[in-house]
Symmetry: D2
Subunit: 304 residues, 4 copies
């Protein structure tokens, strides 16, 4: 079956799942999104793409931003980034503060909140406006100059960021942050509030499937080795506390967000983004994980 | 031996210990105090007092302020205070964040930092300026209108308060603080920076030995029962992670601070304050604990 | 009011509380005891005693045995005991394993299970049969040669001791136990199963109120200083996670057990034992704590 | 470059690393193995194999046994196995007991010690002698009837198994083990002590690269889906607290042991086993990880 047909079939078969799951409501703005949305976009290096459903509807990328912020920080610091943040799975969320204490304030990886705050600190120390730098980076990666963050979502994030502020001050007390906590939290809330659609996100992630180079522009984002490092991180840490299950069911490096989006790549082949706001108990898009599982099953293409 | 002679003998015998211990240096201002200071003041309900050494030299009361802030909050909320903060020992410092998480952000007692922040939150929600209210309360308790906080120490505290900010935001994320974290931290840093001498502090604590009434003014600070409650708290939680050892060696309800001061009371009899900046490994004044141990041994008066 | 009348009044007023609380049922044998029992015995150094209710009915002393096992270990090791076990409050039960890990397997005090296992290990390394040595010690302390452990309760304990075994092996892995775990657990289960009545227990604890000497026999159990140390431990660690509240409400050094017994002493005066099987949420006898609170209130005698 | 030459080159280039690392010495028997050993064997489905160095020297497989014990338990219980043990990464070792407590005694995955004990419990409940069943299973998988466990290593394991006993009793207290702890620990110690060489181990793991079927015998060990599940587990949890780094550097599903062995598979192609006793700070073979990294680099074959 070719990919166009696979996506059509997924779109058809996924319908019964769309009412299921639970839309994230820890910030009011996210809770307003209808859970019946479903979109999917798959992009090849030669520019060919397939889209179904709401692939053109923008949504809040949330934690998917951690992947691109980490990429940008990697560009700046190279391997020195790992002096600031680890690259190992973290176990469950419960332990975050215990682990931070035990490991002297160094987060386990850049995809948990504590680690993403360190990454944002890196960006804030290098750019006058970290969130603008990230937005411009995203625009360049996907070729869409209209990409921006949603000011209302960002504001809503800021109003519910006390847990993140606690972690930031805790790391600051260990000397792990260089910039003022307020600045870091502000930039972090804005980057979580970036709005993009499936097509843009799939395109933005394509360099990860293409050895670190954006195919259509030829821009080298990262060398081959750091690109592989990011894929390895996505595999082991990209889907909250369900990484083990996700690797088994889907078998692709991926990064998810509580807005219901998931970006995944098949190294050497394509990138994909799926979006559906209903989340499973791990915080990953319920329909999204299912769609990706069907994608690798029907195409018989995964890392295994 | 009468108390005047006891204090003289303590002052003489304590000399070899004065170079020992380690002056708190987590904020630079505290680190500047010479560790050879030693002062002690004992005050009776009838106004009689005995002083030796540097009993008239002001020092930073630090955590001793938690005792008086808690008294003031108790005046305001009565038993409802215990809805906001517990009254049990906390085990070691390491656990503070774990315990906060496990107990949904409710601190174990008002004498650990997390609990003192909740107490300060109570004061901030009732007074326009919590720190001014506390300073005025202290002035009234000891009868010295010149008592104030040291602005430089307060500023130094604020610059090194990231761990406290982390705890405050963490509790805020559980809905445990009513006021803005910045305001609470600011008031907390000021109250820690209150400067007093041994004589003033012993006098300020006298109501605890006198059923809740300030003897010379007749002002009722607390009823008898809450006064006993505070003494019980001082006994089980007043000296950091050395409460068990302190109860054994000294046998008095007490509250210590990293400035090197310790306030203690013998219910029904007298209050005492001792000060010497060198700290033992638990953060209590090394010479101060020894002096209090000698006081209860030589006078044969303790709670036992 | 004299003590005879105080105990009569307590016995009368406590009746409405006797159906309340929850009888411990983690081992089946304990769960069979009717929750309507109530007994109380108060003993003076001159041999005078007052008893009310079921003061002559034997019950399972459970954790109260920790007090006497610790006394015996103190006799053997003296201050060296504190190399093996700490003497500070432990915070809540939840942390026991975390704290054990953090503190390299050294328990915080001899009144939590981990600490009591270390104490039992000390006894096992010195006596051929630790539980027999303890039983004989108890007989001598209270003058009743019929004291023994209940074999059925001991068996029931052994069948539900997996958590204690886990802690014992954990400490063993840190090199904190000298004897085989099986032997330690067996002795521990037997000592918990010792059956005594209020009168015997009050008498057995009298040395704690009498400077370390058993008044009627003149036997010196401990010197004055270790006796004070034990009282200090009872004050800060004797009543599970309610030590702070107990000190406030009752104001006496005490040790409780989940069998519903509580032993307390007023240094220099008397010892008391109260028993009622219904427990409050902290695991202390609900009616027992109330009875002791009334005792110190009506007699106006407490450590404060 | 063909695989024969790749292995020769690895064998040549690895020499300077062989004195490095630290041989596991938590049990005396392991500590006796010279750290200069190095062996490597790569096996294809058609029977072709390449060996270099000490590929025929038997060593203690230690935690590699967890992979095969888990396979056997999977055969018995199917997907029900995941009711007993999770399948997600666990963060660092420090947290094992905290996580066990937080997750009511259910281990995070079958490759940490707690999880492996649950797997062994499954085997003990189904086989009269779990360790014999596992040995026979290993013999069948690799076709070598001489495979056995080393009785002296097993005895040494048993003498140093207190931490594992602690975990077992802890899980037992949550009702997570069906069989007596002694029996489970005994079987566990024996399975860790199985001695095999690189060639045998590579052959034994070949079914994982071949859709669950042993190529030369045609025996179906597992269906394709559970086979993929095991590979996913190896990827995210197979190399202690270095899974993230290992996925990046090597990019193969793998399972390591403190005896210095590492088994890895390239799904659809081959299996490999490398052995060198010197360990890095994560407990993985230092030279072994390097050899596997060179293998995937030189062959340009990994999951990415």
């Amino acid at each position: 079956m070719d990919y166009a047909h696979i996506l059509q079939r997924i779109h058809r078969d996924i319908q019964p799942l769309l009412g299921q799951g639970r839309v994230a409501d820890y910030i009011p703005e996210l809770g307003k999104v209808p859970c019946t949305h479903f979109g999917m976009a798959l992009v090849f290096a030669d520019g060919l793409s397939h889209c179904v459903g709401d692939a053109a509807v923008p949504f809040s990328i949330q934690s998917i931003s951690k992947l691109f912020a980490c990429t940008l920080a990697f560009q700046l610091l190279g391997e020195d980034l790992w002096q600031r943040v680890g690259r190992e799975p973290s176990g469950n969320a419960f332990n975050s503060l215990v682990q931070l204490e035990y490991e002297q304030g160094k987060p386990r990886n850049p995809f948990i909140n504590a680690g993403a705050l360190v990454v944002t600190d890196v960006l804030c120390s290098r750019f006058v406006q970290a969130e603008t730098a990230l937005v411009q980076f995203m625009r360049r990666l996907c070729g869409n100059p209209a990409i921006d963050y949603d000011a209302r979502v960002a504001q809503s994030e800021r109003e519910h960021a006390d847990r993140n502020r606690a972690m930031a001050y805790f790391m600051k007390s260990f000397g792990r942050l260089e910039m003022p906590v307020d600045k870091v939290i502000d930039a972090y809330c804005r980057q979580c509030a970036i709005a993009m659609n499936c097509e843009d996100l799939a395109r933005a992630a394509l360099f990860l499937a293409h050895g670190g180079v954006v195919p259509w522009s030829g821009e080298r984002v990262l060398d081959a080795s750091p690109t592989k490092r990011l894929s390895a991180l996505m595999l082991t840490c990209g889907t909250y506390d369900a990484a083990g299950d996700f690797v088994y069911r889907v078998g692709l490096p991926a990064k998810s967000g509580v807005g219901g989006g998931i970006v995944a790549v098949l190294p050497g082949r394509w990138s994909v983004c799926v979006w559906s706001p209903g989340l499973d108990h791990s915080g990953n898009s319920l329909a999204g994980v299912q769609a990706l599982e069907w994608l690798t099953t029907l195409s018989a293409h995964s890392i295994f």
